[in-house]
């Protein structure tokens, strides 16, 4: 299936779930969906016999620097050989989105990474802690307004 057909199929099932659909030459096609529906959409995408998205390639956090954070899901189907990009946008002040860990286990570590580096909270994640940085680190480094803390356990941080 190509991106248009995948989009239509999601639209059939979730008529007001899609915020934006972009397909043009310079960009991989992506679909922006409403964050509170991401888990339901993921269940639909992985279980629908025509779509069968069985493989979550990657979850990337984003800071759009306009007061919004985002999460980008790259998913593909090994059987059907198609792929699509899903995005959600979240306000920086209340960055929460349902976890898709129960559908694709890959999400477990990838969501922890976005939590660690962007401070996005994934609701329903079984083990929401930092993964790459120490547990007592301050701030989320990949946010565009991040300032490194001055000292970490008496060690100077900015070098």
């Amino acid at each position: 299936m190509n991106a248009n057909e995948i989009h239509d199929r999601i639209k059939d099932r979730f008529p007001d779930g899609i915020v934006e659909f972009k397909i043009d030459a310079t960009v991989d096609p992506f679909i922006v969906v409403r964050p509170e529906l991401i888990r339901d959409i993921a269940v639909f995408l992985s279980s629908d016999p025509e779509l069968k998205f069985d493989y979550l390639m990657s979850i990337s956090g984003m800071d759009y620097n306009d007061g919004n954070l985002g999460v980008v899901y790259h998913i593909s189907s090994m059987e059907k050989r198609h792929r699509i990009t899903l995005k959600v946008k979240l306000p920086k002040t209340d960055a929460q989105v349902p976890s898709v860990e129960s559908i694709w286990k890959t999400a477990n570590w990838h969501e922890r990474e976005s939590f660690d580096l962007f401070g996005i909270v994934f609701q329903g994640h079984p083990d929401m802690r930092r993964i790459l940085l120490p547990d007592d680190w301050e701030g989320n480094p990949l946010r565009k307004d991040y300032k490194a803390q001055e000292y970490y356990h008496g060690m100077k941080v900015p070098y």
Binding site: D54, Y55, M57, T106
Partner: protein, 372 residues
């Protein structure tokens, strides 16, 4: 007696433990000798690749990609430059792609040799390790005569290569292949079908295919479970579709499908496939200027790309977002080792502590790749 439970104990394996292949800490919950749970703790080698990338030009990021998976530097660069070229929408001369494939496949062999050698070392076989590193040295010599570096190359640039192949490279590469094929046979006799080695690895750490897919496993870890999936064939990039070779998968020959031996053996078989690709690429190497398409300034239009590639460890992808300036807005490295390692608890439960050594080694992680 079977249901007699003793008190559980927590045992720390690593971060300074030779079998963890770097700085990985695994928190083991054990009941006697039996592993009840294994919780990996990572991040000891985190070098903020993604944060660095936001502050650098597109070309300056290539050396950082080298350092992500330091055993597969050529493959890292290959994926990254393909992504940048896709954003820029430029075509590179065919010779460039052929040379990139030759380098990437040599790198894959070198990486698998480290993996095979150190895996034998983990299990207690010292000699195969020396054999593997002897042959890997020859590959590193080829890299050195091409670009002057042995481990971290900065060889592939967006649009081209830093150097063309030097005089005598093709002959030397062919001589290496001629020497290497019998050496692989020797390695198989010495290690792969060695009875002690098979006893330690067969039926251990069994990974069913559906769990592998659900956890986003890729590369030899996925193929060891019998899944015929290789991005070089399933989503061909570069010029891989021009060569004749096969995807190898685990067969369960020595025990259960998806056990440690299968994951190990897929790497051994893949080396032969890489040799086939290199031979064909050397035979049909086109002429051309490898620097003709290098842009003076790399300034992609606003857009984003997710480019997948098959590194020695599995699906290596870069998600590159451009805001139209000379620096990327965001670069995310999707590291194969990261997802592969996350399934460690699934394949460790119920096995013995001694088996953990075999299981961690068989997943073949590079901690630089896990932590980025």
């Amino acid at each position: 007696m079977a249901e007699l439970r003793t008190e559980e104990m927590v045992l720390n394996m690593g971060p300074q433990h030779p079998s963890t292949h770097g700085v990985l800490r695994v928190e083991l919950v054990v009941d006697g000798e039996v592993v009840v749970d294994a919780i990996p703790h990572i991040g000891y080698l985190h070098r903020c690749f993604e944060k660095h990338a936001e502050a650098l030009n597109y070309q300056q990021i290539v050396p950082y990609c080298d350092r992500m998976d330091y055993l597969g530097s050529m493959n890292n660069d290959h994926a990254y430059v393909l992504g940048v070229e896709k954003l820029l929408n430029i075509q590179v001369p065919e010779r460039v792609e052929y040379i990139r494939v030759i380098m990437a496949e040599f790198q894959r062999i070198a990486s698998h040799l480290v993996s095979i050698g150190t895996y034998g070392l983990d299990i207690g076989a010292f000699t195969p390790f020396l054999f593997c590193f002897r042959d890997r040295e020859m590959i590193l010599d080829l890299f050195e005569m091409t670009c002057g570096a042995r481990l971290l190359y900065n060889y592939m640039w967006p649009g081209g290569l830093s150097h063309d192949l030097p005089a005598g490279f093709v002959e030397k590469a062919r001589a290496f292949i001629k020497h290497f094929r019998p050496a692989m046979k020797e390695l198989n006799d010495l290690l792969s079908y060695n009875e002690i080695f098979v006893k330690r690895t067969a039926n251990v750490g069994v990974l069913p295919a559906d769990i592998a897919i659900n956890y986003g496993a890729s590369g030899p870890t996925l193929r060891g479970s019998g899944v015929k999936w290789d991005l070089r064939k399933c989503e061909p990039y570069s010029v891989y579709n021009k060569f004749d070779w096969d995807i190898v998968v685990g067969t369960g020959e020595m025990g259960t499908l998806g056990d440690c031996w299968d994951r190990y053996m897929v790497k051994v078989w893949e080396i032969e496939q890489s040799l086939r690709i290199i031979e064909q690429a050397l035979d049909t190497l086109p002429e051309g200027d490898v620097q003709a398409a290098i842009p003076k300034r790399v300034r992609p239009p606003v857009g984003e790309v997710y480019v997948r590639s098959e590194s020695p460890r599995g699906e290596l992808a870069y998600y590159i977002v451009s805001d139209g300036s000379q620096k990327p807005y965001r670069v995310k490295g999707r590291a194969p080792s990261f997802s592969n390692l996350s399934l460690l608890p699934e394949i460790s439960r119920g096995y013995l502590i001694a088996d953990m050594i075999a299981i961690i080694g068989s997943v073949d992680i590079t901690l630089g790749d896990v932590d980025r």
